[in-house]
């Protein structure tokens, strides 16, 4: 039978972008080891509604670790204690009966808080709009097998393409940098012949946009890689720097 547990939560509550926020204590007595962390918050919310209080707002959608909607600081760690796991996939078996867990939103200058645990990550979309694509339109594409691609390069491109855009890298970075997110897209596209053509231009535009959004610089802490639910490698950041310098010298 599943183990029952009692969990104490300290949750960041903030009514709106400008409102003051604070940590509020709650206790959930009917937690169990098979529950996901977000299901624990669901149970808390049902409890709060029952008591006539406002539930805790948080984003989630797929609950399978792929859409990147969820994102919480759990016990001070982006997505919580289990490595390579988005918080929607974190299960209560990672905790002990009686634990007290602090839950906070992503904190970064470029991710303003909307309400409670929900933040505005639209800056990520604007970085992609700045150049995170191959400039092709629909139709007229050559046969998919016209251009062979080395398997290891396709695989490496896939490693970077796996980024879910959740923002944990930013939240974990002491500088609030979006370098891992930005580099993941740059590396994914640069590793493929289809994307290589525009690599320098793309890199310069995306990196400049990242700065314009108020993200900090990278100073090689690698905290981002440690919390990334998809295990994206910081080697991508070196790649990004090289492509950027090439772009600079090409003028």
């Amino acid at each position: 039978m599943a183990k029952q547990m009692t969990i104490h939560l300290r949750v960041w509550r903030q009514a709106g972008p400008e409102a003051p926020g604070r940590l509020v204590d709650y206790t959930v007595t009917e937690a169990n080891e098979h529950m996901s962390f977000l299901e624990l918050l669901d149970v808390l919310n049902e409890q709060l509604i029952g008591k006539g209080q406002d539930p805790v707002e948080f984003d989630s959608d797929c609950r399978e670790g792929i859409c990147g909607s969820c994102g919480l600081m759990v016990g001070g760690i982006a997505h919580g204690p289990q490595r390579r796991t988005a918080v929607c996939q974190l299960h209560m078996r990672s905790f002990k009966d009686g634990d007290t867990i602090t839950v906070e939103p992503w904190r970064a200058r470029a991710f303003p808080i909307i309400r409670d645990l929900v933040v505005d990550r639209s800056a990520f979309d604007r970085i992609i709009v700045a150049g995170g694509y191959v400039s092709v339109t629909t139709g007229g594409a050559p046969d998919a097998n016209a251009l062979p691609i080395r398997k290891h390069e396709a695989d490496e491109a896939m490693d970077y393409a796996a980024c879910i855009g959740c923002g944990a890298c930013v939240a974990a970075c002491p500088n609030g940098s979006a370098s891992l997110f930005t580099a993941a897209k740059i590396a994914h596209l640069e590793l493929l012949p289809q994307g290589r053509v525009e690599s320098e231009r793309r890199t310069m535009a995306m990196v400049d946009q990242m700065a314009a959004e108020g993200f900090g610089d990278c100073s090689n802490h690698a905290e981002c890689e440690a919390v990334c639910p998809k295990g994206i490698s910081v080697a991508g950041i070196a790649r990004m720097r090289r492509a950027y310098m090439k772009g600079v010298f090409a003028g």
Partner: protein, 642 residues
Amino acid sequence: MQTVSNGRLDAKVPAGRLQDKWDAYKGVVRLVSPANKRKYTILVVGTGLAGASAAATLAALGYNIKSFCIQDSARRAHSIAAQGGINAAKNYPNDGDSIWRLFYDTIKGGDYRAREANVYRLAQVSSNIIDQAVAQGVPFAREYGGMLDNRSFGGAQVSRTFYARGQTGQQLLLGAYQALSQQIAAGRVSMLPRREMLDLVVTGGCARGIITRDLVTGEMERHVGDAVLLCTGGYGNAYYLSTNAKNSNVTAAWRCYKRGAFFANPCYTQIHPTCIPVSGSYQSKLTLMSESLRNDGRVWVPTDPADQRAPEAIPEEDRDYYLERRYPSFGNLVPRDVASRAAKKECDEGRGVGETRLAVYLDFSEAMRRLGEQAIRERYGNLFEMYERITGDNPYGTPMRIYPAVHYTMGGLWVDYELQSTVPGLFVLGEANFSDHGANRLGASALMQGLADGYFVIPYTMGAYIAGADLPADVSDDDPAFLEAEADARVRIDRLSTVQGDKTPTEFHRELGAILWNHVGMSRTREGLQEAARTIANLKEEFWARVRVPGTSDTLNKNLEFAGRVADFMELGELMACDALRREESCGGHFREEHQTLEGEALRHDDEFADVAAWEFTENGPKMHLEKLSFEFVKPTTRSYK
């Protein structure tokens, strides 16, 4: 219930040989001149594969696009979660595939309840999708020679499925999202995330706009356009527990239904055979284990229901590989509906495994011996990891436990060959329409359909509408139709907030889900369906008396959003039961116990039910219109996977 035959349903299928229809259509279709396209604004609701591909393509052609989605970013649409792959009739492995075979497999897989011409077109454009995706930089799996790799999916005897690890939907969606981003950069798309469409605006007989709610500020917004593309996905979440993302809903489609778009075949839902079983009452959703696993995984239960040994300890002779036994030619790769019912049968007869006994084993040990653990890791690594994270069991060492779960909805808004609904100017793409999968969808065909609709079909068919319709240019957002639709949406929101009862939207949703799962699920009976209709009607009444929506409507308030969706799901649930009751046959995902062969297989009645039931909303209850399906090119036979 009133019935009308063919009546207003003209599928507008072009004449001629099946193989020539689409080319013939494209050859004569009216075009909008490049200079004129920018005069038109197209509202594209949804940024899944269907919506993102349509918005990107139409913007590149020069139209002005407004694109909407519920999530905080277009990239997070539910399509992102698709795992296994996408079909295309490329025949790269040279194993006998062709456009005809993909067409035929899809029609047969759908149990002969889809429109031939649409399905053929889908098979025809399938190859272009792969070309397009590769050009965008989608990192599909490759072989050492550098060519694209393929795998097999259910209902096919060829390998035609392209994949990107277990993240094919993610990669295809990111490709479409990036194409969309390119058009945003070009200034041709304005992107409006965190918006929920709450109504369709019809004026002068045509769809001319939508009402949305800004989910952060609660503000109502009116958007005017020359056509509306509804790409809002499926309604599987009616069952509460499903593999769909939490925000997937029927609301946008349901509001269109209430404004005159017919809802077709709502009873066709797909229950996917390989999902992680339910573990407790707090469960918020179910997780799919991709069908691709059935390439190498073998499904079994202990022969003796009393066998309590750990699965690894049960020797071969005490295992029943029931799919291989019952369906020797397709084995573990029978279509989903067949595999799901078979699992249910085993569990109903007491041979289920695990704590709840509502599970069967999916075992990789034989494949690991044959191919080595590394090969299995490469093929399915991320799925195995996901399984372990959720269950705490390591599938490299012990078989997975799986059970069927609601996954996909074949029903949806009725559309003609041009993907146009019964409301002129309202086009429906992707899972939201009913069009290509009949009564059962084959694996890896939804991604194909969404992208076919968005990249390759809608640019022609919507263009034809714009070129041919004489749309008044002066419709503005203070047109009475806009004011009325906005007022209606406000009233609904206010009504939800004012009840202030004692039950949460989630509690109602769970109850609705249980009713649908029990009576409109894998196996249906007349009595059960009548019972469902009755209990849903009661639940609906209770909802409006007792629902408690916390908070206010001028901030981010997810319970308010969910409450509105639950209200619509209840109304839809009644229609699903009604449609299932009327369909006195078994076909695909719709299994009526009264209609089965002696061996327990689905029994179709083509003479009476080779049709599409399209429901029209009226104040006096749903009115049914029938589109008779004629099979000119294939001969419906009894599906056999034996």
